[in-house]
Symmetry: C2
Subunit: 399 residues, 2 copies
């Protein structure tokens, strides 16, 4: 596994067990016997009401957790997030919808708030009902949470993740703390598998929603592990205001730092990943074009395999740009491609250049810079290499 830089800007971002907790939030994490004996049930709750926003999968087969979240967020407020991992509760019919509603009600009882103030996240195998008897039994014995342990929540929402992902930063008097999970089935269309950000900043509901959407677009929506979009992708933000007001731009920058760190952590822990691939496409017609071209490169199985083996086969970047055949304004003559500081196209490379390129491809983070010559827009996306372990992990996931 690669090291992830702790900072994504000048302002400190803490990760791992060093993360801070915003005022007024408590957490719970335990094993409820969903699949095995690992942590699989967790709650993040505010002691006071919060403004809240969410961004969800665009899948045609959304799970009951997502539809419940959308409904409970209509008023822009929420108090708690309850998550079951190891079972996605998707393609489970009306029984699945009832189970999601019951889970929210059980969590509401545990934290002491109305059921429609609880959001639900689920992740795991598709097509199997929750073991509701076990879940009910677990809640009967559950004590009201009173401490904030975000590292345990980050662990409890994991499936095939090998490390928990969490990050926090300070903004004015407030703290922004985020947890996320996901390492396969990751090409979020509107959010990543599960990402929760909580803050004690005071911020108006509309401002929070606008800022969060913009940050999600530049972070989680710019990540792809394997082009596969989950049915359960959910990114949530809760702000309880306990630390007082924070201006919109400062809050946006803080959310960007936290989500940016989480995205690098997610990419580094992509299923089977040994390194992160960061692709920037510049001078595009617009940001959407920049993102489509950059994603075509970061998603190419051939480029991902070449980066895995540090094979200096830069032609695969050309191939991946070329296959964006619906793009307008891109002509081969204007395109330039560099790995790190080494331009590989249109120059002719000699043996020394190829050796240097191979060395660059051995880095923990491989930067690929593309100039399209079609306009002024730029976008960056993140992914990871493709290794034999990705196949091994996914060839026997349910058995």
């Amino acid at each position: 596994l690669v090291a992830v830089p702790e900072d994504v800007s000048e302002t400190e971002v803490r990760t791992g067990d060093a993360v801070g907790a915003p005022l007024g939030f408590v957490t719970y994490a335990a094993n409820a016997g969903i699949k095995d004996e690992s942590l699989d049930l967790s709650i993040v709750a505010s002691e006071t009401p919060c403004v809240a926003a969410g961004v969800f999968t665009q899948s045609l087969f959304v799970g009951p957790s997502v539809t419940l979240c959308r409904r409970h967020l209509e008023d822009g407020s929420a108090r708690a997030i309850v998550t079951v991992s190891k079972n996605a509760n998707v393609a489970t019919g009306v029984e699945g919808e009832r189970d999601a509603a019951e889970l929210a009600a059980l969590a509401a009882g545990a934290v002491g708030c109305p059921a429609d103030e609880v959001l639900v996240g689920s992740t795991g195998v598709i097509g199997r009902p929750y073991p509701m008897e076990r879940i009910r039994g677990h809640f009967r014995a559950l004590q009201r949470p009173s401490t904030a342990d975000f590292p345990s929540v980050a662990r409890a929402i994991m499936t095939t993740d090998t490390v928990p992902k969490l990050a926090s930063t300070r903004v004015g008097q407030a703290t922004v703390t985020g947890v996320a999970k996901g390492s396969g089935m990751i090409e979020p269309n509107m959010a990543t598998l599960l990402a929760y950000v909580v803050t004690d900043a005071a911020v108006p509901r509309n401002e929070l929603e606008r800022v969060f959407r913009s940050v999600v677009d530049a972070t989680f929506n710019s990540l792809s592990i394997d082009t596969d979009t989950s049915t359960s992708d959910t990114a949530l933000v809760l702000a309880n205001g306990a630390a007082g007001p924070v201006a919109g731009p400062e809050l946006e920058a803080a959310l960007r730092r936290v989500c940016g760190s989480l995205v690098l952590q997610l990419a580094a822990d992509g299923e089977g990943a040994t390194k992160v691939i960061e692709v920037t496409a510049g001078s595009a017609k617009d940001i959407a074009q920049a993102k489509r071209v950059a994603k075509s490169v970061v998603n190419s199985p051939l480029l991902k395999s070449a980066v895995h083996g540090a094979d200096p086969n830069w032609g695969r970047v050309i191939m991946a740009i070329g296959k964006c055949s619906d793009e307008t304004g891109i002509v081969p003559e204007a395109v330039r491609v560099a790995f790190g500081d080494l331009e590989v196209y249109p120059r002719q490379l000699d043996g020394d250049d190829l050796a240097e390129l191979s060395e660059i491809m051995r880095s923990d983070i491989v930067h690929i810079d593309i100039t399209l010559g079609a306009g002024e827009a730029t976008a960056t996306v993140w992914g990871c290499d493709l290794s034999a372990d990705y196949v091994r992990i996914n060839a026997d996931y349910t058995t």
Copy 2:
């Protein structure tokens, strides 16, 4: 490697060394030292003029071979196809264009026809110039071809292919013979990497072009090994008329048999593949929608990995349908999914069903049938499983 059925319809299709040759065609295959000592230079030529048609990659970075083919096909006629493998001659600038033209001229000299009657195919690494001195030296010593050995041509156009792909069938008094190559970088947008079909049927130029496009769409354009579209995809057909007239519909059926067989051979020999995945999406709004949904399934790395391991994780089909979020008219309630004869959705599966599903996933060809409930159209696409060997093959392709 899996066994490929010899027949794709009631009418016989011959494959391997048993293929027939149409009247009036000769071939040549040799090593010209392009990269190593394997066959890498080949020619297919008709002794008399042919009507001809081609379908090519939609890549933004088309190689000089493709632009030359388009130019030489403007008059709808051609006599010969010369192919260099192990070097794609792509992203090689004006030098690459000169080299492609010289190669056509050299081949024209060898078979005795004008240079603008020669088509050029190239496949291999991107971004390296042809070794023109070696190629010129080879042609200086070359004798005019006088026999037809299609199995050797099929071998000479291979790169990472492990077996040659060829097929022939009879139609009236005529023979249709095809060769193809490709096992990675395969998601043709308009054609497959390289596929050549020759026939001695007499057919008008416009009819040949129309029929060929329709067949390519239902065969090569319905194949995807890894979503990566080559810069060099080329499908060509030459008809010299030596066996007399054949009616359009009969010729179309014969081309369909030959190309259908080649597609199954290509899928079975996908890089690292151990089995073929065939996905049919039915009751779609239109054929384009059926194809997009079926391709989303056959291209899902998670589904491909599950099939590889015979893991009965049918939920990944649901996920892959779900991620087609731009499709209209598809609602989860109307969708049905079956593996072979076993319906997996919306039924609830028990342990015996999962064991049966796993058994189905051990077949050489895994059939997945999807009913979308959005209309009347149906399409079938082909792909293969994803194995650790795909990564191994592509992690050190150039080194």
